[in-house]
Symmetry: C2
C-alpha cells in the first residue's frame, strides 16, 4: 500500500514527484509519460515513488487532484470578482488573453486530462467529473449572484447557464488549441454573452 508522507522531507519528495508528473503529463499526455521519466525529472528513486504511489494510476489521480485544486482555486478568485456584465466580459476577455499569451498551447489542464482519460480509466473519470462539477457549481454561484442583483430573471436555471458556459469554454479552448487561433474562444464566448444579455430583464 502507498503511504502518506510522515515527515517534512517526505512531503517534499512526494510533492516533487507530483509536480514533475504534472509538467510531463501536461506537455506530452498521460499515456506518453513513463514513471521512469517522472523519476528522472523529480530526481527521485523508484522506491521513493512506490512508497507514496502504489502504481501509475495512483500518481495520475494525484496529478488530477493537483490540477483540479489549481484550476478551481484560480477560478474561485476570478469569479468572486464577477458581479456585473462588464465584469463577466472582462473575465471572458482574460480567458482569451491567456490563450493568446500561451500561443494557444496550454489547453485546459482538466479538459485535456478528461479527453485522454475519461474512457480508459474509471477512477480518473470520476475524479475529473468531480472537478467539472465543482467548477460548474462555482459558475452557478456566480450566476446566482447576478440573478440576485437583478441582472438575470428570477426563474432562470443557473446550473444550465453554468454548464453551458463551462462547455463553451472547454470547446472554445479546444478549437483555439487545434487552430492556434485564440479568436475561436472569443467567438464561442460571444454567443454565451449574447445569450446572457438576451435573458437580462429589460433586454
Amino acid at each position: 500500500m502507498s503511504q502518506e508522507p510522515k515527515t517534512v522531507r517526505g512531503r517534499r519528495t512526494r510533492e516533487r514527484i507530483v509536480a514533475s508528473a504534472v509538467t510531463l503529463m501536461a506537455d506530452h499526455g498521460v499515456e506518453a509519460t513513463s514513471l521512469d521519466q517522472v523519476l528522472v525529472a523529480a530526481g527521485a528513486s523508484k522506491s521513493q515513488l512506490y512508497h507514496y504511489f502504489q502504481d501509475k494510476q495512483e500518481l495520475v489521480r494525484a496529478v488530477i487532484a493537483w490540477q483540479a485544486e489549481t484550476v478551481l482555486r484560480v477560478s474561485a478568485q476570478e469569479l468572486a470578482a464577477v458581479d456585473s456584465w462588464p465584469a463577466l466580459q472582462a473575465w471572458f476577455d482574460a480567458l482569451v488573453q491567456a490563450q493568446r499569451h500561451s500561443q494557444c498551447r496550454l489547453g485546459c489542464p482538466i479538459g485535456s486530462l478528461a479527453a485522454e482519460l475519461a474512457d480508459i480509466s474509471e477512477p480518473a473519470r470520476q475524479d475529473l467529473a468531480g472537478a467539472f462539477d465543482a467548477w460548474t457549481r462555482q459558475l452557478g454561484a456566480m450566476f446566482d449572484r447576478l440573478r440576485a442583483g437583478g441582472l438575470l430573471p428570477g426563474d432562470v436555471d443557473v446550473m444550465t447557464l453554468a454548464t453551458a458556459t463551462l462547455a463553451t469554454i472547454q470547446g472554445g479552448i479546444l478549437l483555439a488549441k487545434t487552430t492556434r487561433d485564440p479568436e475561436r474562444l472569443r467567438a464561442a464566448l460571444t454567443a454565451t454573452t449574447g445569450y446572457l444579455q438576451a435573458l437580462a430583464p429589460g433586454a
Copy 2:
C-alpha cells in the same frame, strides 16, 4: 517512402490497416496504440504496413483523414436538412440522443484526436485544424441558409455563430463523456438555441 496501393488487393490491405487503427485509437487513444496491436487486429504483416505507411505518424494522419471524412460526410447530410428552427432543434436533439445511446462513451472522434495530438504533433494538428475548419464552414453554410430565409438578421456573422456552435458541441460532448451525463450536452445547446432565437428578427 510509403506507397499508394496499386492493386485492389493492396487497397483492401491498406484499408484494413487504417480501419483497425481507427478502432484501436478511438478506444484507447493514439499513444496507447502500438503498431504491433494494429498489425494483429488487421491481420497484416510489418512489411505490408511499412509498404503503405512510412511510420506511425503517417498512419495517424490516415486515421485523422478517415475520421474527418466520416464525420464531415454525416454532418453534411444532417445539416442539409436544417432549414428552420425546429429542424435545428431536431439536429441538436439527435446529437444528445447519440450521446445517450453510446452511454456518452464515444466522445467526438475529431475532438478526441485534437485534444490528444494538437500539442505533440504539428502535422496532426494541421490536419485536425483543417477538419474543424471544414466543419465550421458546413455550419456557416447552414446558418447562411437560415439568414437567407429571414430567420437571422442580414448582418449576422454566420462564421462566428458556426464557431460558437461547434465549440458548444465539442465542450458539451467532453462534459457528457466525463460525467456520463448526456444532459450536459443538452444544457450547453440550450444556451446556443436561446442565443440564436434571441437574434431572430422579431424575437
